[in-house]
Symmetry: C2
């Protein structure tokens, strides 16, 4: 029993070490530096040993992605905990500001998780991270959104007009939202969340993501000495457009 535990603890211990080292290399030297041999070297083992833990470098990177995602989620969770649960707008702002701050402080991770063309096909980690058992970053988003919805403050008229071609997708999204919220223990009257609500949330995310990505990649059309005022201004618009405040 203890022996098995011992053995398994050793294994998962070095596994943790591997991912920690990979992460370290990623943040300090960029993605091209996270190499199997470098990780192994730093851990005092040899590169092929890593194949006991991951099928390939790509596999390791995928797990790294999930790790980054999970870390972001706990970070946002902490930021959220510092805002009273009754201050819903404050919670929304905290999430958005937290996401931006994280992205700016971890550009490599951001690029890896949120802007790598390889991640494009199929599901991604933004909301649904079904493969990793860990709570995903998107879960936090949805949880906060659920809390806001639960107060009866409408994000938008539940049946606000929506591009007709998107109605099917949005309906599915809405249904997912409802079950997701129920699963996280947030009771929200299901008639409050309609396709219009789902659409509003989508647009909210698009603009938040876009602003952050632009800032991280420095794609401003002119030199910007400090982008925070712009972010705050955008956030103000966003919160107003979506029906809060």
């Amino acid at each position: 029993m203890t022996q098995v535990n011992r053995r398994e603890r050793d294994r998962s211990g070095t596994d943790r070490d591997i991912r920690r080292q990979a992460r370290e290399l990623l943040v300090t030297q960029g993605p091209q530096a996270v190499t199997l041999r470098a990780i192994a070297r730093e851990l005092g083992i040899t590169a092929p040993a890593l194949y006991r833990y991951y099928a390939s470098r790509e596999d390791l990177i995928a797990h790294l992605r999930a790790d980054v995602c999970a870390d972001l989620a706990v970070g946002l969770g902490k930021a959220l905990a510092e805002v009273p649960q009754t201050d819903h707008i404050g919670q929304v702002l905290a999430i958005c500001r937290g996401f931006r701050a994280w992205a700016l402080h971890h550009p490599q991770e951001f690029a890896l998780v949120f802007a790598s063309p390889a991640a494009a096909p199929g599901e991604n980690c933004a909301i649904a991270a079904a493969d990793t058992g860990t709570e995903s970053f998107g879960q936090i988003f949805l949880t906060v959104a659920g809390r806001v919805l639960a107060t009866g403050i409408l994000l938008a008229k539940p049946d606000e007009p929506v591009p007709t071609d998107m109605r099917a997708d949005l309906t599915r999204f809405r249904d997912d939202l409802v079950v997701n919220m129920a699963a996280t223990g947030v009771a929200v009257p299901s008639e409050l969340v309609g396709v219009g609500t789902a659409y509003a949330m989508l647009r909210f995310w698009v603009r938040l993501y876009g602003q952050v990505a632009l800032e991280v990649f420095g794609q401003f059309p002119f030199p910007v000495s400090d982008a925070e005022p712009m972010f705050e201004s955008m956030l103000d618009d966003l919160v107003r457009d979506v029906g809060l405040r």
Copy 2:
């Protein structure tokens, strides 16, 4: 004379071949496949020969970036030519749609030019590509904006309130805009373009970029079968918010 030309033509000829091959590899096999040895192999030469043309792989990639940028610019220029010069809204829409279409059809290039963390520090190619003599992608944007402004249709009140902390940056941007437009032959009354105008253009770009990046990287919070309606909806909002239509 001719001999010198001959020699130089040979040189710039193989230079063009190198970049063309690099480009080919980029689009067909992704960025990790654009390798010096592969390029050389395809050209029937050996890898070290490439060092006669570029100081390093990174240097080659940088030039590739500029090439991609320039190509996008001519592509957008063509799209623009198919819209009557008097249809200013149509021109704006053509540019935006062209940008999206290009990004979706060339995700690798898009990631390389518009979403690589390495490109972040300092100037980028979005607007100012002073190092490459070629017209940049941003020039097209500015030209169209200039045409719109020249008609007297305000993008926004020239002195619309602006985040105070951004005033200095925006003023510089405005000044750049004016000289840029003058240089491209678009006569625009300088009192029509104020910091508010500059701010409106910035916000326009942020939302366009954000939407396109999100779509290219597939970072939707749920499976979207067809993102075009959403793009069109966003475009509609954008054009209206900015004061056109």
